[in-house]
């Protein structure tokens, strides 16, 4: 079920009304479990069984980790949980990718092997719910969480419908405490939740789908060379589209959860105003970057190792972060590029951090522009279907096709330009504060005008229920 669909509107109204009408907390939680499974099953009902299996296994494994008498026992159960989760993910998401690469490797040594094409359907949001569930056993192993005694509560923590299929990645340790006591219906919280849902839908339907996705799709689907202007316009359009698409989903999820009395953390914090790549990853897909930091980067030694090892750790983490996004080498290159960016940034810091000009507004502005430009270059690999396309795009962007084709209309170029300048200006204006603080500074009439504009724009735009980009991950 997509947030930008009529089915979701009907589903949400029924669930929210029932939820706040029921007095008993246990019944309300049961309702949310049923609603979440309906929400998930509305894509492909059999996959709900897979979701339940993963969840039940982790619930049991979490208890085994807690019960184990010694560290090696705990580790064995944790390894079982990690293997179970990653093998599910591996089979459904990376099965064909691994087979193709195996075939390629065999061909390199002269063995011709034709693997069967596995007709595997990727369960929606498997990367997200696997991480929701995995965080539970990892936190129990780390000693920062006690296992819950209620399977129902754990099922709800993993499958809570606002965050189930495209994040934010909500750790069980952040969600389970909220199930201890019933939240109270607070008008301001509920209405703010609705306001966030409106903002999220506006970002998705109006900005991502209507103004940016068409040109981005055409540019990245064009089989010929393009001039620099069209190449850059396509990349900028995609940079805006993926932000509004994914941040829009996250804001909708946060808003929907808030209307039900649950608090989810921010997943984006004005990323296109980042100065440097560490800053970017503190602002982009925060729930994934903190997950990778806590469960991968720090266990690998984090910053507390020799510089070369630290650089390697960064590259390993970003390599896996890239692979998490999709079973293709283009995603891996995207991750490796970000890993390399992070390493280069550390080197720059060593040499220049203490220079008197390092913190000047001009330096910050240049660094901000450089960060945005480098992030856009990395997006080419994220969006391109293969390396031929990526290489053609990059060549076009850097003037390699002066006689290439022009395929965007003037209107589309204007749209991309206006939205890009708008999003960057907004991010820079608000980069040092939270979104809530920025809203609080606005007078009531401005909030009313913006809210009315966004709500009417959603109706006026007549969305087409395009899937959110991150569903495929």
């Amino acid at each position: 079920m997509l947030f930008n669909s009529l089915t979701f509107v009907a589903f949400y109204v029924v669930v929210t009304t029932l939820y706040w009408s029921i007095r008993r907390w246990e019944l309300r939680k049961n309702l949310l479990v049923v609603a979440s499974y309906i929400f998930y099953g509305a894509w492909n009902p059999p996959f709900a069984a897979l979701l339940f299996t993963t969840t039940a296994m982790d619930f049991w494994l979490g208890r085994q980790i807690a019960k184990a008498q010694n560290q090696s026992g705990k580790k064995r159960w944790l390894v079982a949980s990690v293997c179970m989760n990653l093998s599910m993910l591996g089979f459904f998401k990376y099965g064909n990718f691994l087979l193709q690469n195996f075939q390629w490797l065999l061909a390199r040594v002269g063995i011709i092997y034709q693997p069967p094409h596995l007709d595997i359907l990727l369960p929606v949001g498997i990367s997200f719910y696997t991480f929701h569930s995995l965080s539970y056993t990892l936190d129990i192993y780390r000693g920062v969480l006690q296992p819950t005694r209620s399977l129902r509560d754990f099922i709800l923590a993993v499958s809570f419908f606002p965050q189930l299929v495209a994040g934010p990645i909500v750790r069980a340790g952040d969600f389970l405490p909220q199930l201890a006591h019933p939240p109270r219906l607070k008008a301001n919280q509920f209405l703010w939740g609705l306001a966030l849902m409106t903002l999220g839908l506006f970002e998705k339907i109006v900005l991502a789908d209507t103004l940016l996705s068409g040109p981005a799709d055409r540019i990245f689907g064009y089989p010929g060379p393009l001039v620099a202007l069209d190449s850059w316009a396509g990349v900028l359009a995609f940079a805006g589209q993926i932000f509004f698409d994914f941040a829009g989903y996250s804001i909708c999820a946060i808003g929907a959860a808030l209307t039900l009395g649950f608090h989810l953390k921010d997943n984006f914090r004005f990323p296109y105003a980042a100065i440097g790549f560490s800053d970017f990853w503190r602002r982009w897909h925060i729930s994934l970057s903190t997950f990778l930091r806590d469960y991968l980067y720090i266990p690998l030694g984090g910053n507390q190792v020799r510089p070369l090892r630290m650089a390697l750790n960064l590259v390993i983490v970003m390599f896996l972060g890239g692979l998490w996004h999709g079973a293709a080498w283009t995603f891996v290159v995207w991750g490796l590029l970000h890993g390399t960016y992070l390493v280069i940034e550390r080197v720059f810091r060593i040499f220049f951090e203490n220079k008197p000009w390092a913190g000047s507004p001009l330096t910050r502005a240049v660094a901000g522009c450089a960060t945005y430009g480098a992030v856009c270059i990395a997006w080419v690999f994220f969006r391109a279907s293969d390396f031929t396309m990526a290489s053609r795009m990059l060549t076009g962007m850097f003037g390699g096709h002066p006689t290439g084709d022009m395929i965007l209309t003037t209107r589309e170029l204007l749209q991309i330009g206006i939205v890009t300048v708008g999003v960057i200006a907004m991010h820079w204006t608000m980069r040092e504060e939270s979104f809530e603080t920025a809203v609080m500074r606005l007078p009531a009439w401005a909030i009313t005008a913006i809210g009315s504009f966004m709500a009417f724009a959603i109706i006026f735009t007549q969305g087409t229920s395009n899937a959110f980009i991150y569903f495929q991950f």
Partner: protein, 386 residues
Amino acid sequence: MRSSISSFKERLRLPRLFFRRPSREEQIHGGPPLEFERPIPLAQWRGISVVVTIIVIAATAGWELYSRSLGYAPTLNDNEDLWTMARRRVEPESIVIIGDSRAWFDCDLDEFQKGLGKRPIQLAMAGSTVYPALADLADDKNFHGTIICSFVPHLFFAPPGSPPMERAEKGVKRYHNQTPAQHVSEYLGMWLEEHVAFLKPDDLSLEGLLNQLPIPNRSGARVPPTFPPYFQTEDRERRARMWEKCAEPESELAKRIQQIWIPLFTPPPPPSYVPPDVFLAKIKEGIQQRFGDTVAAIEKIRARGGKIVFVRFPHSGGLKELEDKIMPRQQSWDPLLQMTHAPGIYYSDFPELSGFNCPEWSHLTAGESVEFSKRLVPHLRQALKM
């Protein structure tokens, strides 16, 4: 009064609370102990919500009234979900209409039912290639019914990856992969479209209006052709009828659409990145491939006892001249019938099927489509040996 934000900041400094019972002071509004609580901006949310609701309702009602004043009325929009609904109704012995917008506009289901004894199912789709639907019926092992297939060369031979092919494939794909959520959304959407006039994505949506902005393009830019605006109504059986505004004599809308067909039906210049001779060879190869695939699909259907008849529907004016010039009958229609050994009805071969008026050169008006269908039925019966 303390703001929610300062309370939030203080809370972040608290130690983890999950493992112990919080003190009264640590509890938020008497609620549960939380490690994290989202700040709620202080504002008059109730008042703001009421005013926003009033403004949005007023703006929506105003937009609806304005749309109706322009002549728009509630009707269904064609999409892959509506096509899927129709496809689901296909039974083993159904009569099915497939093809492009000419079959969609020009076939009257009531007249076909009267004349053929069975109500046909309308699967023709505007601006689409017929092959994906034909192949889908051929692969449906239960289907052994009758197919009435429209033929427009420009669309019939559209290559893989082209918009007509993608449009048709989208419908077939949706039929096979429609999720329960999409199914429910379609029913809810139909109800809305039957009551709200401004739900016209081609004309009255943000994208539709942006497309109408008269902004000139860069010279030499290979921009996609403009598609015609909304000019038909559609019901739940996917019966399309030309909008009266387009059917009026000397209609401005019809004239506008005529001028859209010409560039839309003119083959685009060869791409800059493929040598012209290679491109031409590929086009010829693609046409032969489509002939071959069509023959194979028809043989599958015939092997199960099914039948097919091709129909060339009326078209006129500059569009007819263009179609005849680009793809003459001898190079398209005749070889198709020869290769498939299928019967065909070319409207201009029969005086009673000729002389119909296509206001925008490509489709019949709702009234004329009824008469045309009535006159077409005896030819269909004869061709299909019914």
